[in-house]
Symmetry: C2
Subunit: 110 residues, 2 copies
Amino acid sequence: MNSKLYRGSLETIIIKLLSENKEMYGYEITQLVKEMTLGELQITEGALYPALHKLEAKGLLDTSTRSIGNRYRKYYSLTKKGEKEKRVLFEEMAIYLNSMQLLLNPIKVK
Amino acid sequence: MNSKLYRGSLETIIIKLLSENKEMYGYEITQLVKEMTLGELQITEGALYPALHKLEAKGLLDTSTRSIGNRYRKYYSLTKKGEKEKRVLFEEMAIYLNSMQLLLNPIKVK
DNA sequence: ATTTATACCTAAGAATCTTAGGTATCATGA
DNA sequence: TCATGATACCTAAGATTCTTAGGTATAAAT
C-alpha cells in the first residue's frame, strides 16, 4: 500500500496534477491520485493539506474558494512561479528515477 | 544533487547492494553508490550508519569486524531474513515506481 | 608537516509523513 | 427519520528519516 518511498514525492505529484488540470481542490486530488494509481497510493489528508498550504506560502499555488450550495471548496492552481518550479521538480524526479534505475537494475557489463 | 526524493529508499539501496556483493563495509557503500549514480547520489554517513545499525538490529544484516593493518572495517552481509525482506522491498519499489509512472507519465486516452 | 582519503561513530535539529482527532454538509438506505 | 458514508475542510502530536555538524583515528599524498 503506502510504503515510505512516497516520502518526498507529494509536492511533485501535486504540481504535476495542477499543471494538467488547471484547478483542483484538495479532496479531488486525493481521489484522482487513488484512481490513477489503481488504489496503490492513498494520500492522507494529514499530509495533503499541510503540503498545499506550504506550496501556497511559497508562492507556487494560488487559491480561490467557491461556494457549492452551503459548502465550499478551495481550488488550487499553479502560479507562474509554480510553473517554473515544476520544471525543477520534474528534473529532480527524472534524476532520481534514473539513479534508482542505475542502482537497482544495473547494466551487467561483465 | 540530493533531492528529498531519496528519502525512504536508503534501506532498499543497501539491501540491493548487499544482495549483489555478499559483503560490504559502510564507507564502501557510500563510494559505490556515488560511482554507480555518476555522482548524483551521495549518501551521507549520518544517514548511512544509523540505517545499517537499524537493519542489523532488525536482524536483516550480520556484521563481522576485521582488522586491516591498524585499522578496522565492519563488514555487513544479508541474513536469511534480509533475503526475504529484500523481496518485499523490491516489490514495494516496483509498485512505487509504477505508481509514479502512472502519475507523471500517464497514458493519454482522450 | 599538513592536508586528503579512509573508516568508524553520534546527536541535534529539520522535514515529511502517519495517526488521530475535529467540524460541517449532503446523500442514501434501513 | 436518522444513522452512516461520502464529501470537504482543517490541525496537532508523534514517528521516521534525513541533514548538518560535529568527534576520533589511521594511512597516504603533497
